[in-house]
């Protein structure tokens, strides 16, 4: 079974996001693997462990630092790594989906995993657009995948805590919300060993597409509210909280 995982390298929001002009100041920010892609790699490896096959991880190299991410994925159980030499830190999800689809096209994928969304664009478009470019069905918000033959049983999450079980036929693109198990830990000794021996296939970006959006302005949000610390004994604090709730018409 050919399992493909499309990943995204995104600016870290662990720190203040520096803005320069109408975009992120990409030189002053660390890049990290999209959190949902960590889940999606784990889910892909779990499927491989259950039914056999190979896991190929593919992503756009935004700032020339994707190797470390790919090495980690290989140490966690992926078999092949492919990087698209995009070298454009501002490439949006539409562009990335196009490049990814061109790279994945020749892989005869049976199932393609993508994180359901990423914290930079937050549009959840990579998965659906990949499916459209590759002419495959898409199911998103998925929290578990079990493959049997040429079909799979997936759990999809809906708002309000509702879940549904779907039987889907392969090939298929799956947008992963959460892996059925938390992502495994790859010991550094293993990652380093992989880094010394693994080969990463390089692919040039192919295809041009526009999201049709123009960025007019980017600015950090203005702080409007603030927290008030209430001092005093627990009785005094409780009394003040009651007073506050009453004054705001909440009690």
């Amino acid at each position: 079974m050919n399992i493909v995982v499309a990943i995204k390298h995104i600016p870290s929001i662990a720190d203040d996001l520096p803005v320069s002009g109408n975009t992120v100041d990409f030189d002053s920010v660390d890049f990290v693997l999209n959190e949902f892609d960590e889940q999606s790699i784990e889910q892909a490896v779990l499927v491989k462990e259950a039914v056999g096959g190979t896991v190929t991880v593919v992503g756009v190299d935004m700032i020339g630092e994707l190797d470390a991410v790919l090495h980690l994925a290989l140490a966690k159980g992926a078999d092949k790594a492919v990087k698209i030499t995009g070298d454009d830190p501002a490439a949006d999800s539409h562009t990335q989906a196009k490049w990814l689809s061109e790279a994945i096209k020749g892989m005869s994928a049976d199932i393609i995993f993508a994180g359901v969304q990423a914290s930079n664009d937050l549009d959840g478009q990579i998965g659906p657009m990949l499916a459209a470019y590759l002419d495959m069905p898409y199911i998103g918000g998925v929290s578990s995948v079990e493959v049997a033959g040429d079909s799979a049983t997936v759990n999809k999450e809906f708002a309000g805590g509702v879940g549904a079980k779907y039987e889907v036929s392969l090939p298929m693109v799956v947008g992963v919300q959460a892996s059925v198990k938390p992502p495994r830990y790859a010991p550094v000794s293993k990652v380093r060993q992989v880094a010394q021996t693994a080969t990463i296939e390089k692919v040039a970006p192919s295809g041009e597409v526009s999201s049709g959006l123009t960025m007019k302005k980017m600015a950090p949000p203005v702080v409007t509210g603030h927290a008030e610390m209430i001092e005093g004994s627990s009785k005094e604090v409780a009394a003040k909280i009651v007073e506050l709730l009453k004054s705001k018409g909440l009690a």
Binding site: A14, D15, D30, P182, R184, P187, V188, S189, V191, R192
Partner: protein
């Protein structure tokens, strides 16, 4: 593996001489291997077969360790118990018990058989990690942060020296200085990033300046020592950080390294020599105690506090420094120093060592209260209104613990902060 034991039978020698004394007799079998008949040795052997964990098999169940184990005070633990659990079917590499030891070394201090949990635990944990067994999530996060960002807090490397702004005195970066210094001050991750850690770093900078110490820091080139990650089982991560750190340390000329934290002291002084780094490293308390004569006239403001001092395991038991911190505290005018019941060699662990710093939620599920909470209560029971510490892990741990145990009246302060208070007055 088990064959060794099946063959073993109690042997009564006809004659046995111990230390030149003939002790022949039917009872002399006590000098021979005991026969295990009811329990299987496999799971003990499984641990003892891991390199560096051999001494696990030495245990003869005397239980001296249980009496001093800080985890047993808040749970059901202790090296002797681990051995017994293994005898009765527990695979340590898969049990929650694997992650509870803080490597505080109090058991080793009293163990007549030298069962060394400080070596056993890291080895067994490493095995579990390499075998893909359960690793607490919070701990994984700290490992990943260290590998990715160079510190367990996951803060950006380029902000490692941002704390300097709060010092209000010059803090030279060795790279910019471009010359040899007497003292290379390794600040450490928590003093660089943690809000309460920064307070201690800023205090240290002011003290060094006041004493006229010729010092510099590594700034953005400094990375975590990763000693606690090693003790938590991530030897590969430790070795990667060690290679990077040694390269950085050796890039510059300096006479002596001063570290803010005992864990860094342990790494650089006791472990790095195995990786080819052998240069003088001291904890700040040892270093400043040398300057007591110059320091005393600077301590102009009285600090009218009753202070109790918590011995960090990695400064005290692991590195033998008990007096320097106390001398510094006693040098502060107005201070009344009182001791907790468990002090010096028998100091009670704060729970932060051996990776415990990053397993609070996990540990909480397997203990009745945090070790730091137990210790905070002990500190409060002395009547002290300040709990003085000398390890960057402790300020945040004990600040939380005094709150959660209803002892907010006890201030948790690093010795550096107390010296700084006395120097500047507040």
């Amino acid at each position: 593996m088990a064959q060794k034991y099946e063959k073993a039978i109690a042997i009564e020698k006809d004659n046995i001489v111990v230390d030149g004394i003939d002790v022949s007799g039917h009872w002399n079998r006590m000098f021979e291997q005991r026969v295990i008949t009811e329990y299987t040795p496999e799971l003990i052997e499984k641990i003892a077969d891991i390199p560096n964990a051999e001494s696990f098999a030495n245990c003869y169940q005397c239980a001296k360790c249980v009496a001093v184990c800080p985890v047993d005070v808040v749970g059901n633990y202790g090296p002797r118990k681990l051995y017994r659990y293994a005898q009765t079917g527990m695979d340590l590499t898969e049990a929650p018990e694997l992650w509870l030891c803080t490597t505080c070394a109090n058991c080793l201090r009293v163990c007549p058989k030298e069962v060394n949990m400080v070596k056993i635990m890291p080895a067994a944990r490493e095995q579990a990690i390499l075998d893909g067994k359960f690793v607490p999530n919070e701990l994984q996060q700290a490992f990943e942060n260290t590998a990715k960002s160079g510190n367990p807090l996951g803060q950006p490397q380029r902000k490692r020296d941002a704390w300097i702004q709060s010092a209000g005195v010059p803090v030279p970066i060795i790279k910019d200085l471009g010359r040899k210094v007497n003292v290379l001050w390794y600040v450490g991750s928590y003093p660089s990033y943690h809000p309460r850690g920064i307070d201690a770093a800023a205090a240290a900078a002011r003290i060094f300046n006041a004493l006229g110490i010729d010092f510099a820091i590594l700034g953005k080139e400094e990375k975590d020592d990763a000693d606690s990650q090693r003790l938590a089982g991530e030897k590969g991560l430790f070795e990667m950080m060690t290679e990077q750190n040694i390269e950085t340390f050796n890039k510059y000329e300096w006479d002596e390294m001063v570290v803010t934290g005992p864990h860094e002291l342990n790494a650089f002084k006791n472990v790095y020599p195995k990786y080819g780094f052998e240069r003088p490293v001291v904890h700040y308390s040892t270093f400043l105690a040398r300057y007591l004569d110059q320091l005393k006239p600077l301590l102009q403001h009285s600090v009218e506090k009753k202070i109790t001092y918590h011995d960090p395991c990695y400064l005290g038991r692991h590195n033998g420094e008990y007096e320097a911190p106390r001398k510094l505290l006693e040098a502060i005018p107005g201070v009344e120093l009182v001791e907790m019941q468990r002090n010096r060699e028998n100091g009670y662990c704060c729970g932060g060592g051996g990776g415990g710093m990053w397993m609070d939620s996990f540990t909480a599920k397997h203990t009745t209260m945090r070790l730091s909470e137990k210790r905070a209560m002990e500190a409060a029971s002395t009547g002290a209104n300040v709990l003085a510490v000398a390890c960057p892990f402790e300020v945040s741990r004990f600040t939380d613990a005094v709150k959660s145990t209803g002892n907010e009246h006890v201030d948790v302060l690093d010795i550096l902060e107390l010296l700084d208070k006395s120097m500047r007055g507040e």
